[in-house]
């Protein structure tokens, strides 16, 4: 799917401003043509990383390579990339068409080629007929498309996106998500995309880079992060509703996997009601949310609160007491102190451990 030569290489990057740490030392390799999502809670350094790739920030230490060239000291304009900003950053005094070809004009492209590329960008983003409008006369979704059109018109192989969907409403966000993905594949662009929304990351990414406190927590394809979370943080951040993390010491002995302390993580869809004679965790139903195909059951137990995603319409009501259980193959074990995954304890029929990408 991707060529073997890495397209972007970050080595030993740190960036801090006085006391505030932006990026605490990361190494990252991005392959050509990949859709890579930098995911993490706010303040984790994902936007800083993107701005370091863009050249809007200069790292304190470390190097940035794009397409084999060291661009650490180059300004953004000489890195051969385009960028979509969270606020779209459209120039209010320019029309849609002028906004899109802004960069082409700056670089002095001949008029004929400008209009040719403009036509292509307009039709790719469905903006035909809006050329002469000012950004102020457009809806949020249309402004977003103009920003996209401006990013693709130059034909740069790399496009950086900083939370481009966060100003759209939920329905539009879903549509545009698909469009961006389609556009990326059609044009064969490498996209580095920043978001704090894990569903966005899961739905779009070839690879997810999960960040926390300026460091990379885990990286790999979305399914790896979901199925083999490397840490308790990764387990709780990826997936919605989040994975239940239960302290082993508070579970009934049959469910504690032989751990004295440590965390046992179970995805909501792996939780089920215990059958007769099966060991279970006693829990009280605190809420029931019927979603159609499945039902979210909110539970409170001695080991803490958890959410179960049960198929269909289970016969539980608010306030009733249930026994909840899970299969040994569905559980994830984490060390209590470090939160690190305890990989494949002996004697378990867990799926074979997959390589979770390049860990740092």
């Amino acid at each position: 799917m991707t060529s073997p030569a890495p397209f972007i290489v970050l080595t030993g990057i740190t960036k801090s401003w006085g006391d505030s740490q932006g990026v605490a030392g990361i190494d990252l390799t991005i392959a050509r043509g990949d859709f890579v999502v930098l995911l993490g809670p706010s303040g984790c350094g994902k936007s800083t990383t993107l701005r370091l790739i863009a050249g809007l920030e200069t790292p304190n230490t470390g190097r940035v390579l794009i397409d084999g060239k060291d661009v650490t000291a180059l300004p953004p304009a000489h890195r051969g990339l385009s960028m979509v900003f969270q606020s779209y950053a459209l120039f209010p005094h320019l029309s849609v068409a002028e906004n899109i070809i802004f960069g082409l004009r700056v670089r002095g492209l001949p008029k004929a080629e400008r209009s040719e590329r403009l036509e292509k960008a307009l039709s790719l983003t469905g903006l035909k007929g809006y050329e002469d409008r000012k950004p102020s006369a457009l809806s949020g979704g249309q402004r977003q498309r103009v920003a996209l059109a401006r990013a693709i018109v130059a034909g740069h192989p790399l496009c950086l996106m900083d939370e481009p969907l966060s100003n759209l409403d939920a329905k539009l966000r879903h549509e545009v998500r698909q469009e961006i993905r389609q556009l990326q594949q059609e044009l064969g662009m490498t996209v580095v995309y920043v978001t704090h929304d894990q569903t966005e990351a899961m739905g779009m990414a070839d690879r997810i880079v999960l960040m926390k406190n300026g460091l990379i927590e885990q990286q790999g394809p979305p399914e790896d992060l979901y199925e083999q979370p490397a840490t308790a943080f990764a387990a709780s951040f990826v997936g919605s509703p989040p994975m239940a993390l239960l302290p082993a010491g508070k579970l009934p002995p049959a469910l504690s996997a032989g751990l004295a302390d440590g965390l046992i993580g179970v995805r909501p869809e792996a939780l089920r009601l215990a059958g007769a004679g099966e060991a279970g965790l006693p829990a009280r139903v605190t809420g029931v949310e019927f979603l159609g195909g499945e039902t979210l059951v909110y539970l409170d137990s001695a080991a803490g609160a958890l959410i179960a995603k049960l198929p269909g319409r289970p016969a539980v009501v608010r306030g009733s007491d249930v026994q909840i259980t899970w299969s040994a193959s569905d559980r994830h074990l984490f060390e209590a102190a470090s939160g690190k995954r305890i990989s494949n304890p002996a004697g378990l029929s867990a799926p074979a451990e997959r390589k979770t990408g390049r860990m740092v």
Partner: protein
């Protein structure tokens, strides 16, 4: 001044405000109104305030023939143009530097520039005179204009306007290939357009009317602006009567008056808005 609650007290204060405003307006317009009256009447008619005194255009003919007015108009036009051009150039660059670049001592330097606003220009007349002479600009348009070009007010105004421009716009322009001059030209200047308009109007009005400094630094008709020319024309020893002086005054202020009427809205609105930011 709440007019939302029509209590007795507030209504009284509104009335007082209106009366006060009206009084000020009448006081302000009175000299202009008198000039308008006097310019179209004979000196006797002008002072008698006889409503049926004969109307005449002779005053304008006399006044126009009495001094090299076209030369004065040319000088004033050149003067305000040179000053405005210099101000736009210097204040744009300085405002941009103070708004977006951090260099050692930039805050201190900006404070010093703001302090300049507290100094009356008249205080500096002697020092400026010496400086202009040393530069060999005495009795020239550039000499009249030079002290005003690096305007502290303009620098402040444009710095504020530039600071109001979202950073992401600048970053987008930089990603799209602009250097710092490109960012200034393509992002900041277009964004500050209303501020430029307001500032230009005020600058033109101020320097069209400026009198004391041009009077001191000029001594020939080749560089004298309208204001100085008018004062020489109206000097008592030239024995010109009030009606003729009024006529001359009217045509010296006419271009400014017309400009004000055209740009009235921008003049007031844009300037108020620019100050708030």
């Amino acid at each position: 001044m709440s007019i939302a609650t029509p209590t007795y007290a507030s209504r009284t204060s509104v009335t007082l405000d209106a009366v006060g405003a009206l009084l000020l307006a009448v006081l302000w317009i009175a000299p202009l109104a008198f000039a308008l009256w006097a310019a179209f009447h004979t000196p006797q008619g002008a002072l008698s305030f006889d409503l049926f005194a004969p109307v005449t255009l002779d005053n304008f003919r006399t006044a126009w023939a009495g001094a090299p007015w076209p030369r004065y108009f040319l000088n004033t036009t050149m003067l305000v143009t040179v000053i405005l051009a210099g101000q736009l150039f210097f204040c744009t660059l300085a405002g941009y530097a103070f708004a977006r670049f951090h260099f050692p001592g930039s805050d201190l330097l900006f404070m010093l520039i703001l302090l300049q606003l507290f100094i009356l220009p008249e205080v500096l007349i002697v020092e400026n005179y010496a400086m202009v002479s040393r530069l060999g600009l005495f009795d020239s348009i550039l000499g009249i204009g030079a002290p005003y070009m690096a305007s502290a007010f303009g620098i402040f105004l444009l710095r504020q306007a530039f600071k109001g421009v979202p950073r992401e716009l600048e970053e987008a322009a930089r990603v799209e290939g602009c250097g710092w001059t490109g960012v200034l030209w393509r992002v900041y200047i277009p964004a500050a357009k209303p501020v430029y308009l307001a500032y230009a109007l005020v600058s033109i009005a101020t320097h069209w009317n400026n009198f004391l400094w041009p009077l001191i630094v000029t001594n020939s008709n080749e560089s004298r602006p309208l204001t100085v020319g008018l004062s020489l024309f109206a000097a008592p020893e030239s024995g010109v009567n009030i009606a003729v002086i009024s006529a001359a005054t009217l045509f010296t202020i006419a271009p400014l008056l017309v400009a004000f009427l055209i740009f009235q809205r921008q003049f007031i609105q844009a300037f108020l808005r620019a100050g708030i930011r």
